[in-house]
Symmetry: C2
């Protein structure tokens, strides 16, 4: 069953409505996301490796190989996973840039893999925190030990390598296979009836199984998913919902507990549902996604209201103050939504992915790619203090971006997402290509009967609403374009065969089926005028306020532009666009002065030093 021609993509289901296009078929060539991919490759990856080295998280593997652990081990119980996420990011970057075998990234990748390989035990076990004399026993702290979680990230890294450099002799895929075999032996039927306190191994095992054609790994993922909600983990102060061990996945009605755990588990459960043709489970996950999006998701796409347990709140509990909205929960939400999109083709999943990419994932890194937000508040009441560029920050200071965190899951999570982002642009089915995200790029998909659907995308999106597709090969197929839910009044223009047509298209998606000729142009024009968004009345925290959005971007008001504390800002008119900036008439409650004030894209806030900031602005 091993398919060496699988797309170079993080998720390649064996069935489902849509087939992902990998990095060889879809590429971002510039623009908003191209810039971020470039910075990720040029700066972030080296920054991460440097910190993994200086914090001791990578040297932990050397200590393990030398047999001197636990002496000198540094970092938290999940620090191994950051190394694996870094490897995954590197693997996608190598695939994305089609780097030569002697290029720098390849050398870095191999050196890190060599150090990881040396730390693996003979039976396949791999973790620097457990199992040696002077350490706790293997699997003795499933609630908090993160052993299976770390392996899940190892598996995802191996999948990235397998799909971008199949057959490479670095050894990462073999390391992952041996570890996955051990997990199946230990936790399979008749083995330990247990789960990991942090979901991730499910999604890792399922994809490793897909990538290597090992049904056993997929079955083990299914077993872990099914074991959730049976209370095999100890109860804790925040309840078993923190681990999603409160209710079986298929019986749940909404995501709850720790927001990263909940999304990772849901992503893995979707994989399991698809591979097992388990329609009941898939429908349950779709219902959970619906309610979570409606009632437990910030306007930014951010998820998780609580600082204490990094968890979802109750329905409608979405305070702007102290919104936690962890960057990694955004990454996890995209993982979950993308799998549901592949399974169903429903454009709403791509809508949330876009919202989350622009307003959570893009918000995290600084323009130089060397500092990050871990949490993403929607109302900063006190100007933050700059982080020490050489230091390590508490994870959720929510003030200014920081170079590294004591819990530093977010930087490598952003890095792997950016490096693989091309694989989230478009999909194919038997009759055509679906374009879900808009960026300058090239798409070329071979359809099952040999037709080639190939086109180039030219756009200044999101600054500009025009997305121009130029067909590159003659072929008859169906082009499907997502029309975002916010894009009422979008227009579609087709210039083909010397004729022109134009029509208004409804939010959702629009199909263009025709015998395309090289040079034909399809243009989608999305209305990116600033718009005023009112909150659901059941959300207490932002009643009487509005958010201003423009295209896929949520905008924010910063004190540096307002000239006073944004706590006193009141909307005094409608937003207008002037010289490329969105201006909002505002009144300052403390002085009663009124002025037109520029807003910034939320993802650009806190780039001009400490400031107060708000997304939701009172109207009276």
């Amino acid at each position: 069953m091993f398919d060496s021609n699988a797309p170079a993509a993080p998720v390649v289901p064996t069935r489902g409505r849509l087939r992902p296009l990998g990095l060889g078929e879809a590429a971002i060539t510039g623009g908003f996301w191209g810039d971020r991919q470039r910075v990720n490759g040029e700066a972030t990856l080296a920054h991460i490796e440097s910190r993994l080295e200086s914090e001791g998280w990578l040297p932990n593997f050397d200590l393990a190989a030398a047999g001197t652990l636990p002496d000198g081990r540094r970092g938290r119980e999940f620090s191994d996973s950051e190394v694996y996420k870094y490897l995954e990011a590197l693997a996608w970057e190598i695939g994305r840039t089609n780097a030569a075998p002697d290029a720098a990234f390849e050398g870095r990748f191999r050196r890190v893999v060599t150090r990881v390989a040396a730390a693996q035990e003979r039976d396949g076990y791999l973790n620097t925190m457990f199992g040696r004399a002077g350490q706790r026993e293997r699997w003795s702290d499933l609630e908090w030990g993160h052993e299976l979680y770390c392996l899940g990230h190892l598996f995802q890294a191996a999948v990235a390598r397998q799909r971008t450099r199949p057959g490479a002799d670095d050894g990462l895929v073999g390391i992952a296979r041996r570890a996955a075999d051990l997990v199946c032996d230990e936790f399979g039927p008749g083995g330990r009836d247990a789960i990991c306190g942090h979901a991730e191994v499910e999604v890792g095992l399922a994809e490793l199984g897909r990538a290597l054609g090992e049904q056993r790994f997929i079955d083990q993922a299914a077993l872990f998913v099914e074991r959730h909600g049976r209370g095999t983990l100890r109860d804790i102060e925040w309840g078993r919902k923190y681990f999603q061990d409160d209710v079986p996945v298929r019986d749940a009605d909404v995501l709850r507990g720790h927001a990263v755990r909940a999304n990772y588990l849901s992503a893995g459960a979707t994989d399991v549902a698809v591979e097992g043709s388990d329609d009941g489970l898939l429908q349950s996950l779709r219902r959970q996604w619906d309610r979570t999006r409606e009632r437990r998701t910030y306007v930014t796409g951010g998820q998780g209201s609580h600082h204490q347990d990094e968890a979802f709140g109750d329905d409608w509990e979405l305070p702007a103050d102290r919104a936690y909205s962890e960057t990694c929960a955004g990454v996890g939400s995209i993982m979950f939504s993308w799998r549901l999109l592949l399974a169903t083709g429903d454009a709403r999943y791509a809508d949330l992915i876009e919202r989350t990419l622009f307003n959570v994932v893009a918000t995290s890194p600084a323009p130089d790619g060397r500092a990050f937000f871990y949490a993403n508040t929607l109302h900063q009441r006190v100007p933050g203090a700059p982080a020490d560029p050489a230091g390590t920050s508490p994870r959720a200071s929510s003030s200014l971006r920081a170079p590294w965190f004591e819990v530093s899951c977010c930087p490598p999570n952003v890095a792997r997402t950016f490096a693989s982002l091309g694989a989230y642009l478009a999909t194919a089915d038997d009759d055509g290509v679906q374009l879900h995200q808009y960026a300058p790029g090239r798409i070329s998909a071979m359809l099952p009967d040999g037709r080639v659907a190939a086109f180039e995308v030219t756009t200044g999106y999101p600054a500009d609403g025009s997305i121009r597709l130029t067909v590159r090969e003659d072929a008859e197929w169906t082009l499907t374009l997502r029309v975002p839910a916010w894009a009422a009044g979008a227009r579609l223009r087709v210039h083909a065969g010397g004729e022109e047509s134009e029509q208004e298209v409804e939010p959702g998606s629009v199909d263009v089926r025709r015998p395309f000729r090289r040079g034909d142009v399809v243009e989608l024009v999305l209305p990116v005028e600033p718009r005023v968004t009112a909150p659901d009345p059941r959300v207490d925290a932002v009643r009487g306020s509005v958010a201003i959005e423009r295209g896929p971007e949520v905008l924010a008001l910063e004190s540096i532009d307002f000239g006073g504390d944004v706590v006193d800002a009141v909307v005094a008119g409608a937003p207008v666009e002037r010289d490329g900036r969105v201006m909002l008439p505002l009144r300052d409650r403390s002085t009663d002065a009124a002025a037109e004030v520029p807003l910034v894209a939320y993802h650009d806030w806190a780039q001009r030093g400490p400031s107060t900031m708000r997304v939701w602005i009172p109207t009276s």
Copy 2:
């Protein structure tokens, strides 16, 4: 300097604007608070002792005495303090009820003291968690060890005993004195330059110094206060402000960090400022109190917005959802306000005490006195599950009252507050008596020149707004009555010497100076009609909503009365009182049905099973 005639009160400063009246001079004889004192004495104290026994927190002292620790020790690092708070509550209860030496409470008290005494080391050290072979060293974990915190509660217990049974031979005062001497030796000038991660020893040492005439203890309290803000504690994820070790007390401008710690420290700092005639420090504390009350205090008087670190939020960060508002922070706020009231005479401090007593402290216990709220949310979005009556609950489940908690500071904190509540009613100065809180009771104060200011209070407050004082002795003096800030339109009637007068009085306070004769009546009539309170516009979380108050009580809407989820309630008219209930016209957004719905006093919510509840109700 030892004054065996000091008032039987928790705080007896040697100087200041007002002199407290102790339990021998001021007594509550019934009504709202009398009922709670009765339940406290009849049920809560025995409930607490039973749990201290069954949880092992009291037996820990026996294990210490037997020399078998650390084996078998149970409870958290601060569990000793609950035993001391229980002793303090018992001591006040014995004083309040003037129990005979052979009464049950006295026997219980002595038996517990005997067990505590047996655990004290020869050099005065007393803690069941530290210092023995197999335990961590003494003072080795000042951030989290709570050793000095526990001793602070021991000192407060000894003060209660000293002031209610001076010269009693049970030994508690001696235990406290030896421990305090050790603290001064260890942490005095030239000793460890350190503080405790949880303030409390400051207020305990200062009062023990006052009670025993030991200036050294007061000086040590001053030293601990001055050492705050110098970063002697390790930094933590939430910052040193959690411990109030970020900024020196006199340089701070607001309470911040852990809300109980912040209030206990501020109370101790006030003691130190008063004893040292340190006007700069006192003025700083008054400014901090002002800003904290204005910007960081819930309408209930509750303090502390965050679950994660049980801490104050930023200014105006007062979400109703997940309001933490820990019961103990309410107790601490009363401790701080009371000391400022004694120092300055400013009625605003008594206003906040009243608000906090009725809406935080009275909210915690169930009517039977055997279950408690630890946190006091202002918006319950999901009906809670009943707590296991035999079990131990997580501390901040915020749903229904629970009999005991893993961290169970609140039940004994409420118990000691209720038992000593008479001492918070009234004060005296050279020319008269000030009545701060209104409850049926008897007051009798000897003024410095031998005049006796004595009167009886008859009132159905807060159900009824009439407070009637009947003078019991002939004497000329000044009666000062607090007129709460909410009581616009209050009236004062004087029936004296056969004449009657009546006048409107402004919020703040009103003086009546005259040659009182036995039988004269002074009546204060406070308007307790329901009123509508709008929030400060800088609080995001409750914009567009109102709270309904009645007298000192904040009211709440429960789903059991609304007939639907309170998330859909919208105010549709003004509150009216009908048959002793406050009725509020409401519309149900989900059905558009309108009805008049009864509100309950917030302190009475969640007494009829699981419900959703809200204090702030949207107006549109």
